[in-house]
Symmetry: C2
Subunit: 205 residues, 2 copies
């Protein structure tokens, strides 16, 4: 979960303005770029884990997350593409619950634009982070004699097969400020031009 994302600006939606302000006011805390992502497994049960915010996609509000293709969240997302982010900022006491859909960009993706995004994400990682994708299969029993594959990677090598970019497309944001005792619900729908139109309501906390 190492390494924070960039928070490049665009024509900012009000919820994004709040989120960027929270990221800035909590930026001195390494964990402020971590959030919890919930998905639904094939057996219908919820799954939940901490992931790292890797920045917004250029020109839109999609959120980037990196993961290993061998982690169970990939199968979960292929079964049910919905996710809910819960992002609690421990310094400013703000919570963002963001629901939306997840798109898996991996080595089997054929769309050249998405493959380019994946490659860009790969090179944005530190070498140490890249090495993690060469490690043994997550959640399998530890084998002490596991050979190291670290020497198979140099800094100019492109993404390894296990490297996945997850693109999270927010549809609704439930913002709660505990300090301000304020809650705002941001809802969206697709416009005719396929961009999102957002509406907001002040609701009871």
């Amino acid at each position: 979960m190492a390494g924070a994302g960039t928070i490049a600006t665009a024509a900012a939606q009000p919820w994004r303005t709040l989120l960027v302000a929270a990221l800035e006011s909590n930026a001195h805390l390494k964990h402020s770029s971590y959030f919890q992502l919930a998905t639904v497994a094939a057996n219908g049960k919820p799954a939940n884990r901490t992931v790292v915010f890797r920045g917004f996609q250029e020109g839109c509000d999609n959120i980037h997350i990196h993961t290993d293709s061998r982690s169970s969240k990939i199968d979960e997302i292929k079964h049910c593409r919905y996710g809910e982010v819960c992002w609690y900022f421990t310094e400013s006491w703000e919570q963002f619950r963001i629901n939306g859909t997840l798109d898996v960009i991996d080595c089997s993706t054929t769309d050249p634009v998405k493959l380019q995004q994946r490659e860009k994400s790969w090179f944005s990682c530190s070498l140490k982070s890249r090495f993690q994708y060469l490690g043994p299969v997550p959640r399998l029993p530890v084998l002490s004699a596991e050979p190291s594959k670290v020497d198979q990677l140099d800094s100019s090598s492109g993404p390894v097969d296990t490297f996945c970019l997850l693109i999270f497309d927010p549809e609704q944001v439930d913002y709660l400020s505990l300090k301000g005792n304020e809650r705002i619900l941001f809802r969206s729908r697709r416009s005719s031009s396929e961009s999102r139109v957002w509406f907001s309501d002040k609701v009871n906390p």
Copy 2:
């Protein structure tokens, strides 16, 4: 989300020993008693929010959570009783993913033992926390002329109808230490005496 839980000890399972140690080493951080609880809504989509750890149940490993009967998680749990807790400790860099089942104890519960647990939970809350359950309906639009009901509550009054105790019964714990680069999977099954028997495996992070 105010007020931390107690961490009363019992014949401790290894995962609980790790969790209690994490709670102790992070105790100076108010947010160390907050975790994210994922559930599944009736539409099959995941939901995720921050809740407060209110302690373990006496004599077992069940985890107590307080909530408002008017919050959407109640309907979600009535539709699907499975939950997954993701609890990340920001100081010690440890994550506990705990999956299990949720039981809603509210004013319609008939089991006298459970009702007693709910009453005990109510009186363990500060008066300020109790007042929250008299507030306007969560997620409904804010009405400026909402009358205050605070004067309807004194310190000896029992639980109000909107006060719910959630009892979370852990079935599996996925422990990850980022500092130690260690991951342990704890699985359980019910023994013939209905208590849980736990097994653990060291797995790849």
